[in-house]
């Protein structure tokens, strides 16, 4: 059953995209900024996970948590230093700054540790078991379950906690939220922290699953995760999850059909089609522009 296996691969890849896309979509939902540096937070998370496993000899779960915490801090620092002053700037200025931050992180990491790739240590056994004739590795099951748990946790935070309520309020209407006594700055920082923590987790998972990491690894997954966020409807959290999974499955199918060199193009073609025909995404509602 080749196709079940491909489907599982696609879902594993898609869940990584979904985790990154959640950060994009949350940040965009709250301050309308495409945080280009998000893909690089993902890369930094992957490296933090790598060093905690190899240098400090930690297991997968401690490394995952350390990476998430460090990335949350990192995300907040980026927001406080670079983006906070740009709240009232033009969209173009904010976007250019985000591109600048992204390149600064990438080349800063290259400057510090060199551009050579690293091989992630093999922490899980390569055991596979078969369901319906498909060979499924324990790794992919574990990755999938970690992603699902994180997404459920996110849903819980967004819908059941006070911070989550504040986040939803700010993304709905910043001014009104401010008038209701919500600390907008802290809420935005919390959004960056949560989004970046998810990206950090995605980084560790990516490293374990694909084993090779390098300082420019964040660029393409970052862009694709953005595609996933747009596909699901940017600013909508379940949309990012569905968009990520769809994108992962589509890419795997394109590769499986023998067009692996066209895999990256598939994501961008999806992006352009969705932007042209349904710019608000699968879950988005059409809003009219007010003058």
């Amino acid at each position: 059953m080749e196709w079940i296996q491909q489907l599982i691969n696609g879902i594993s890849l898609g869940s990584i995209y979904a985790l990154i896309a959640l950060g994009y979509t949350m940040v965009y939902g709250i301050i309308k900024l495409i945080n280009f540096a998000h893909g690089d937070v993902f890369m930094v998370g992957s490296f933090i996970g790598f060093y905690s496993i190899t240098v400090f000899g930690l297991g997968f779960f401690p490394a995952l948590i350390i990476s998430m915490v460090a990335c949350a801090l990192f995300g907040v620092i980026i927001e406080r230093i670079a983006y906070k002053r740009l709240r009232n700037a033009t969209r173009i200025a904010a976007l250019i700054t985000a591109i600048g931050v992204s390149l600064l992180i990438e080349y800063g990491v290259i400057y510090i540790r060199g551009a050579q790739p690293e091989a992630y240590p093999n922490i899980f056994s390569n055991k596979t078991f078969s369901i319906l004739g498909a060979q499924i590795s324990i790794q992919s099951v574990l990755i999938l379950s970690v992603s699902v748990v994180l997404m459920i946790l996110l849903q819980f935070i967004v819908h059941k906690t006070k911070t989550g309520k504040a986040m939803r309020a700010v993304s709905h209407d910043v001014e009104a939220a401010k008038l209701m006594g919500i600390n907008v700055d802290n809420t935005i920082s919390a959004t960056f922290a949560i989004g970046s923590a998810l990206a950090g987790a995605a980084g560790v998972i990516f490293g374990v699953y694909y084993t090779k990491i390098d300082p420019l690894m964040g660029v393409i997954p970052g862009l694709k995760a953005f595609v996933a966020a747009v596909l699901g409807g940017i600013g909508i959290i379940p949309g990012a999850m569905v968009g990520g999974l769809v994108l992962g499955v589509v890419e795997t199918i394109v590769s499986a059909l023998g067009f692996s060199l066209w895999r990256d193009a598939a994501a961008f073609i999806i992006l352009i089609l969705i932007l042209i025909f349904r710019p608000s995404g699968i879950f988005g509602k059409n809003t009219r522009e007010k003058v």
């Binding site: 309308k32 740009l86 290259i110």
Partner: protein, 316 residues
């Protein structure tokens, strides 16, 4: 807008610069390194000015300019290397095909605004790159050998034509319409300006000159590879425009000259170069979001008593 008064002095200056440098090159008083840097500066100015038309004048944020550069580079390389036609033909055809690519990309994507447009152009540029990566006739990932045909004469003539066309376009009725789109698209729509038309026209002209620059680029470097035309190349062009001032032609020209010289000296340290570039970009955006010169032109500084044209970039 009495640019006609500035036209002949500009041509005179251009001829003078050309003759002086040509004499220096042909008498070998200027070595290969400097003449190559000058050609590179000319190519980068063409790129900067063509993107300036799209971002600075029309206000459409495109971050996929390297895609059109790639189209021009590959098409012109095919014409000289496979069809054995002269280089001048290759430059023109490269530009025309890039303009067509610009139309194909522009018509659907210019319906989008702001961030979405930026991402769509980025996506198109990536698709163009992947297409070239997958065509075996142009060498795929290994790239394509191109003979060295770009001379100072070709580069300079293309540069002058680009500047004249873009300055004249900016100062024409069409240019004013494009500026009105930049200032406030809804208002200019309400004034009866066909905003989509002007956006697409500006995009196509910008792509044409990016294609011309691509032809010069590919015939200057002996080899072209799809990896040269990635996102970083688009970013290189973008920083010329952003640093110079969103809406300032002379700003784009000056920053293209400056950054080309800087990056020539930092060639051995690519990481340092990128760190400096990104820091410059962040700092300029945080403290001077309109770029160093805003919408001012260099000539405006000579006659500050006149009201500066262009105005603010608000309303987006």
């Amino acid at each position: 807008m009495k640019k006609s008064k500035q036209f002949w002095p500009f041509i005179l200056l251009a001829v003078l610069v050309y003759v002086v440098i040509q004499v220096l090159i042909s008498t070998e008083m200027m070595n290969q390194f400097y003449s190559n840097t000058l050609i590179l500066i000319a190519i980068n100015i063409i790129l900067a000015v063509s993107l300036h038309l799209v971002i600075g004048i029309t206000g459409q944020f495109s971050i996929g300019h390297a895609g059109f550069l790639a189209v021009g580079a590959y098409v012109s390389a095919i014409i000289t290397m496979k069809l054995q036609l002269p280089f001048a033909v290759a430059i023109i055809v490269g530009g025309v095909i890039a303009a067509l690519a610009g139309l194909i990309v522009g018509i659907p994507s210019l319906r989008l605004k702001g961030d979405y447009l930026a991402i769509a152009t980025l996506g198109f540029a990536e698709i163009i790159r992947i297409v070239f990566l997958n065509i075996d006739a142009v060498g795929g990932a290994a790239g394509m050998q191109v003979s060295h045909l770009t001379t100072w004469t070709y580069a300079f003539v293309c540069l002058v034509i680009t500047l004249v066309v873009i300055v004249n376009f900016t100062n024409s009725r069409h240019g004013l319409a494009a500026i009105s789109v930049r200032e406030n698209e809804i208002a200019s729509d309400a004034m009866g300006i066909n905003t989509t038309y002007y956006k697409v026209i500006a995009f196509a002209i910008g792509s044409f000159f990016a294609g011309v620059a691509g032809a010069l680029f590919s015939h200057n470097f002996y080899i072209i590879q799809p990896s040269q035309f990635g996102f970083l190349k688009s970013f290189d062009i973008l920083i010329f425009v952003v640093l110079g001032g969103l809406g300032s032609l002379s700003g784009a020209v000056l920053s293209a000259i400056l950054l080309t010289i800087v990056s020539t000296y930092l060639q051995g340290y690519p990481e340092t170069r990128m760190i400096i570039y990104s820091l410059v970009l962040i700092i300029v955006m945080l403290y001077r979001p309109k770029g160093l010169m805003g919408t001012m032109e260099i000539t405006d500084y000579f006659k500050l008593w006149r009201t500066p044209k262009g105005g603010s970039q608000h309303g987006k």
